[in-house]
């Protein structure tokens, strides 16, 4: 699934480690989501949306692959 995680993170000048710490996941998980290798669970997607103050569909695009 495509997502805007990298762009949103860059806009806020956050590193993957910063975001991982806030989401309470490993940096590997943030990287795997960013690169489209792993689709997060619904609870984690909601946490991501909460961190960025956006709706889930503003971060993830279900129509695209990777």
């Amino acid at each position: 699934m495509k997502n805007r995680l990298k762009v949103l993170r860059a806009e806020r000048d956050w590193t993957q480690a910063d975001l991982a710490r806030e989401l309470d996941v490993s940096r590997q998980t943030v990287n795997a989501i960013e690169t489209g290798k792993y689709d997060p669970s619904l609870p984690l997607a909601f946490r991501l949306a909460g961190v960025f103050g956006l709706a889930i569909e503003e971060i993830f695009d279900p129509s695209g692959e990777g």
């Binding site: 309470d24 996941v25 490993s26 590997q28 998980t29 290798k37 997060p40």
Partner: protein, 140 residues
């Protein structure tokens, strides 16, 4: 950055501590299993309460290792848990196929079944380890 930093069971430090605890308990358990096995083979543990106490203690340590692993699994984040679960599923499947195939070979008299049971643990452990490595590389 404006948001607060959190610390929980899935923090790298907590995860590392859980990993070390699991590794230590598995090492202690396999060591105890080996000692009991040697004791039985060398006729040191022949029968009676010492034999049963040794087997029970080794089994208890094994259950403790299982408990520690489950705690470790619960402390992982969802991607690392998926990697672990995929590796466990692979090891279980390979173990089942290897075990049942070995039993057929044992029944046919091609291979000694008693010796193959010991190798089954090694096959499952190696498969699990390969599964974890492949999983981490896949999501790296």
């Amino acid at each position: 950055m404006s948001f607060s930093l959190k610390k929980s069971c899935s923090s790298p430090q907590g995860s590392r501590w859980n990993e070390l605890r699991v590794a230590a308990l598995i090492l202690i358990w396999t060591g105890s299993w080996l000692l009991v096995k040697i004791g039985i083979v060398e006729d040191v543990l022949v029968s009676g309460w010492p034999l049963w106490a040794a087997i029970t203690a080794s089994g208890g340590l094994g259950l403790l290792a299982v408990w520690a692993y489950l705690k470790h699994l619960g402390g992982l984040d969802e991607l690392r848990r998926k990697i672990e679960m995929d590796a466990l599923a692979l090891a279980f499947g390979v173990g089942m196929v290897t075990g049942l195939t070995s039993s057929l070979l044992g029944d046919a008299g091609v291979l000694p079944w008693d010796e193959m049971v010991s190798y089954l643990f090694t096959v499952m452990f190696v498969t699990y380890s390969v599964g974890v490595i492949v999983g981490h590389r896949r999501y790296a």
